[in-house]
């Protein structure tokens, strides 16, 4: 990792964890990558196009596509919820 790269941790739940074969992955991304970029490039290929419609959080708060990812960020992938 160099100064042009940020390392983020991504958490997966429910069937997204099954498809990723794990609940936690680390990604090295070019500095300036947005949440939307990251989902499109790294997650959609595995989680499918419906993952564009899911919710995401960064550092335990809901986040929008244009959020710039910083080194050490924790992203959570939130497929459709089914609590209750």
């Amino acid at each position: 990792m160099n100064s042009n790269t940020v390392t983020v941790t991504t958490l997966f739940f429910s069937f997204a964890a099954d498809r990723m074969n794990g609940r936690r992955k680390t990604f090295d991304l070019p500095r300036g990558t947005t949440l939307g970029d990251m989902v499109h490039q790294y997650l959609e290929p595995v989680l499918g196009p419906e993952s564009r419609n899911w919710l995401y959080s960064v550092n335990e708060e809901w986040a929008s596509w244009d959020t710039h990812l910083e080194n050490g960020d924790e992203i959570a992938v939130i497929p459709p919820v089914s609590g209750g």
């Binding site: 958490l11 739940f13 429910s14 069937f15 964890a17 099954d18 419906e50 919710l55 959080s57 335990e60 708060e61 809901w62 959570a76 939130i78 497929p79 459709p80 919820v81 089914s82 609590g83 209750g84």
Partner: protein
């Protein structure tokens, strides 16, 4: 007093009732979700609940604040249990106190509806035939 919690332990209804007690309240409404032996006609033997705990607790708190704002709830307790739950177990508790019963019922109903639509919790059905499926998984979940 308010309680917003994701827990692996059995949900204690008595503590929830103590928490919402208030001499200004004429009404307390509780909703308990319990694990059923079928879903959409297919036999089930239990549920597994997963959660993104820190964000789930934040969202429970936000819902509680809304129930006070929108319905005049005096106190709110929202607790969701996670992990493996056999049939009959309580998975979720919504408890509210209010001046009158109309507000109490409205707040409790909205409380469970908002939990089900917004809080990052997921359930996996353990079908009685031995198969498992996460709810809302578009590929794996076929209740029939």
């Amino acid at each position: 007093m308010d309680i917003y919690r994701i827990t692996k332990e059995p949900i204690d209804v008595a503590s929830a009732l103590v928490a919402i007690g208030d001499d200004r309240a004429g009404a307390q409404a509780l909703f308990l979700g319990t694990v059923r032996n079928e879903f959409a006609g297919r036999a089930s033997r239990g549920l597994y609940y997963d959660a993104y705990e820190p964000l789930a607790e934040k969202e429970l708190r936000r819902i509680g604040d809304e129930l006070k704002q929108d319905f005049g709830a005096l106190h709110v307790v929202l607790i969701h249990r996670i992990g493996e739950l056999p049939l009959g177990e309580v998975s979720v508790l919504v408890a509210v106190s209010a001046g009158h019963r109309t507000e109490a019922f409205a707040a409790a109903r909205e409380g469970i509806d908002r939990i089900k639509s917004r809080v990052p919790i997921w359930k996996k059905e353990h079908w009685d035939d031995g198969q498992d499926a996460w709810h809302d998984d578009p590929e794996a979940f076929s209740p029939k």
